[in-house]
Structures are given as C-alpha cells and as structure tokens.
C-alpha cells in the first residue's frame, strides 16, 4: 500500500497537477479573504468568515480537478490491469491513492499558514478555533475528494468525472441555503425536505469553523468518505466481474 501511495504522491508532483491546484487554491483563498472577505476592514481577529467561509466554493471545483484522474486515468491507460494483477488488494490501492490526493490537499492547506501568522500579528485570535476550522476545511475537502474518487471509478473520461463530481459537490453545498430549502418545501413534504436538507455539507462544516467539534459532524464527514471509498471498491470489483 505504501508503495502505491508513494508512487501516486510523486506523480502529483512530477506533473503540473499538484502545483496548479495548490497555487490556484492559495491565490483564490487569499484573494477572497482580502477582497470579499474584508479581512482587514472588519478588524476582527477571526478567520471564520473572511478565510474559511470561502473554502467550500473553492473545493467544489478544485477537489474534483485533483481527484478526477484517480481511477479514470487507470482505466484510460489500462494500468488498472497491472494494479489488478500485482499481489495486493484493490482496497489497499484505493486507500493508497486516496490518501496521496488527501496529502496534496493537506500540503495546500498547510501553505496558508501566512494568514494564521497575519491574524496573530494583527490581533489576538482563538487559535484552537482556527485549528478546528482547519480540521473542518480538510474534512470537507476529503469528502469532496472521496466523491470524486467514486465517480472516477465509473468512467475513463476525466472530463465527465470532473463535471459530475463538481455538480454533486455544488449540490451538497447549495442545498444548505434557506431559499433552496424553501423551494424544496414547495415540491416535497416537510419530512422529505428535512431529510434532503440534512445532507447539506455547510450545516456540518460551519460548527467546526466556530470551534465546535461535534460528534455528528465528524460522523457525517467520515460516513460519506468511507461510503464513497467502499462504493469505489464495489464498482471496481463489479467492473472486473
């Protein structure tokens, strides 16, 4: 498993993928922090609204962009046939490839450290809240990555994988908005609307931004991640059956 993990991680950095994703993420997150986020003007030693608030919007495009090659590329190039005949399980290949992509995101997030230094220099923030926000942001990104991993198991076409994964991520974000919930309520019963709205990712992300680490939010993120990875395994096995 470690061999596949190492190969995957290296391949992100021998190709421009990781550099492009990391640079765009850093630019977008810092640009939004200092423009729409009004980090300086509000004068609040807090990163919740100025910095972390924008992450779901950036991840919904960039997480699928990084993850779309996970299995699509293996199908397209036929290297899945090599992986499938090495003395290893498909599950360890899934976990190894997924972890490598997650590590690229961990590096991207770690590189936003100047904003933490800035807020500590300018004011007196609650660093534990900032830490829990980072955990929330990373879990959110890993969730989107797991969804992309599942979609990439279906197709050898990376563009289709990108479009479908982005759409699912966008949907998971926007169903958390009130006016979407109101629109849903007009077509569905209250129970159905509540069930749909409860899958919204923001409801589980925002408590972590406020420093509140709740079990139900962690269960939500880990359930989606594990379910997507197990489903990826089922799809890949079904394709070989």
């Amino acid at each position: 498993m470690f061999t596949i993990f190492k190969r995957e991680l290296k391949s992100y950095f021998t190709q421009p993928t990781a550099y492009a994703v990391i640079c765009i993420f850093l630019f977008m997150s810092l640009f939004l922090t200092f423009t729409l986020g009004n980090f300086i003007k509000t004068g609040d030693a807090n990163l919740e609204w100025s910095f972390f608030f924008w992450h779901p919007w950036i991840y919904m495009l960039l997480a699928p962009a990084l993850g779309m090659r996970l299995w699509s590329d293996e199908h397209r190039s036929g290297t899945i046939e090599l992986l499938g005949t090495f003395p290893t399980t498909i599950w360890s290949a899934i976990v190894a490839k997924y972890l490598a992509a997650a590590v690229v995101w961990a590096i991207a997030l770690a590189l936003t450290y100047p904003v933490v230094i800035a807020v500590n220099t300018l004011g007196d923030p609650d660093n534990l809240t900032i830490f829990s926000s980072y955990i929330g942001s990373f879990l959110l990104c890993c969730t989107f990555l797991a969804i992309t991993c599942l979609i990439s198991a279906f197709t050898s076409d990376q563009v289709s994988c990108l479009i479908i994964s982005c759409s699912i991520c966008v949907l998971l974000v926007v169903i958390g908005f009130d006016h979407v919930a109101r629109a849903l309520a007009q077509s569905f019963t209250e129970a159905t609307t509540n069930a749909i709205v409860s899958t919204a990712v923001l409801d589980h992300y925002q408590p972590l931004l406020r420093g509140s680490v709740r079990i139900q939010d962690l269960v939500y993120f880990f359930t989606i991640i594990i379910a997507c990875l197990v489903s990826t395994s089922a799809i890949l096995n079904a394709k070989r059956a």
Binding site: T3, I4, R7, S11, T14, Q15, S77, G78, T79, I80, E81, L82, G84, T85, F86, P87, T88, T89, R240, A241
Partner: protein, 242 residues
C-alpha cells in the same frame, strides 16, 4: 503449474469463454491462438486473477486464483495486450515501483531491476520518461515488469505485437529460453511464432477449444501441412458471424 478447469465467462447473455480446460506444465510454452474476439485475452485475464470467472477455477502452482488471489498472483508475471505503463515515470522508476510491489527491496530489488534491464535491452532508455518511448521499448518495459520477480508462470498477451522484426526475433528467443524453466502461456496472431517458440498450441474459437496439440500434430491435422489452413478451417470468419 497452470491448471485451468471448466473456465467460463459470460458478459450478460453472451458467452465469451465456454468451459475451457487445459494445463501448462513447467518447461512448456503453450501458444494460444484464435481470431479476434475468440476469448483469448479474457481467458488470460481470468488466469491472472484480473477478472473473475463466471464458472470454473484456475490453479497456479497449486494455489487457486479465486480462493487465494494474493498468493497465486505472486507466481505470475503478466504482460497485458496493450502494454500499459505509467507515462509520468521513467523506466527505472517504473521498474523500482514494480519491484517494490513484488516485495523486492534493497539489494534483491536492485539486482532484479538490473537483470530485467539486461534481459529486455533497456539500458539505453532506463532514465528516459516512459511517455517518450517508442512502441517497441514500451512493450519491452512492460515485459520487464512481468519478469522482475522471476515468476514461475508467465502470461503474455501478444508479446510480439508492434515490434520490429529484430525485436520480434529477440522476444521469441527470450520466450523460448524462459520456457525451459517456467510455464508460459502466450497468445499470438502470428502462426509462424507457434513453430518458432511453442511446444504446444491451442486454437480457440468463440470461447471453445477447437484444436490442441504440438505444432507438428496440428499441421498433420490440417491435411495440407499448413497451420494457416487449419486455422481457417476451424475458426469462424468475421463474415460468418453476421
């Protein structure tokens, strides 16, 4: 070494491989012949454990590929038809990766890599990126990964496809040499290759074995001393399939 019993594969209602049974012993090179779509690659993929058979079993060195895939796969070296490789790696990095996947570390790994680089004539391209390689070199790099762990069983899906005449000759000689100590199953469209390399050949058509014997037995069976004639007589032509 390779024991295939009643192997079948259905894709929906279509039967691609129908109750195939054959064995390949150590020191035997079995040529697998058949027209396109006869089920050769599907059979080979089932033998390597890449796809699961609908029915039947494959035993490699006494281990069932279905019941103990991880253990059985350790004995197999496999060259897929399209010779797939990771294009972003260099030849050397790719072979290091394959060695590590085969649990060959440290000096053992380095020796194994150096052996296959010699065997497959890859010295000139060892540090070259795979995406810049010609088809012949790509094929040989993929063959190198199949040989890296010195497997008891080799499954080669059209190993000479796309090679120039010199390379074809080298690969045939290599298969012949390796066949002295291993069990080799290899598919080909080139009937001359059967004479050049195989101890025995199977002709399959629409998932069934239609001929099995040594090259000389098969030629005798044709009545005209020609493998081409036998192949044409026994297999379904594409125009007949409509």
């Amino acid at each position: 070494m390779i024991e295939v019993s009643n192997l079948s594969k259905h894709f929906g209602a279509k039967t691609v491989v129908n109750k195939l049974s054959f064995t390949v012993q150590k020191g035997e090179v079995l040529g697998f012949l058949g027209p396109n779509g006869a089920g050769k690659s599907t059979t080979m993929r089932m033998v390597t454990g890449f796809i699961t058979p609908s029915k039947g079993d494959v035993t490699i060195c006494g281990t069932s590929v279905i019941d103990q895939p991880k253990k059985a796969k350790r004995h197999i070296g496999y060259l897929p038809e399209a010779a797939p490789l990771y294009d972003d790696m260099t030849v050397l990095d790719f072979l290091k990766f394959c060695a590590s996947m085969r649990q060959l570390h440290g000096k053992t790994g380095r020796d194994a890599i150096s052996n296959v680089i010699d065997t497959c004539f890859l010295e000139n391209v060892a540090h070259q990126s795979i995406h810049t390689l010609s088809k012949g070199y790509r094929h040989r790099t993929c063959l190198a990964q199949a040989l890296i762990h010195d497997p008891d069983v080799l499954i080669l899906d059209e190993p000479t496809d796309g090679l120039d005449p010199n390379q074809k000759h080298e690969v045939r000689q290599l298969i012949k040499r390796l066949g002295e100590t291993k069990a080799i199953l290899f598919s080909t469209h080139i009937l001359e290759e059967v004479d050049a390399t195989c101890n025995r050949a199977l002709i399959i058509d629409q998932g069934n074995i239609v001929a099995d014997g040594t090259p000389s037995e098969l030629r005798k069976q044709s009545g005209t001393d020609s493998l081409h004639d036998l192949f044409r007589d026994l297999t379904t032509k594409e125009t007949e399939q409509v």
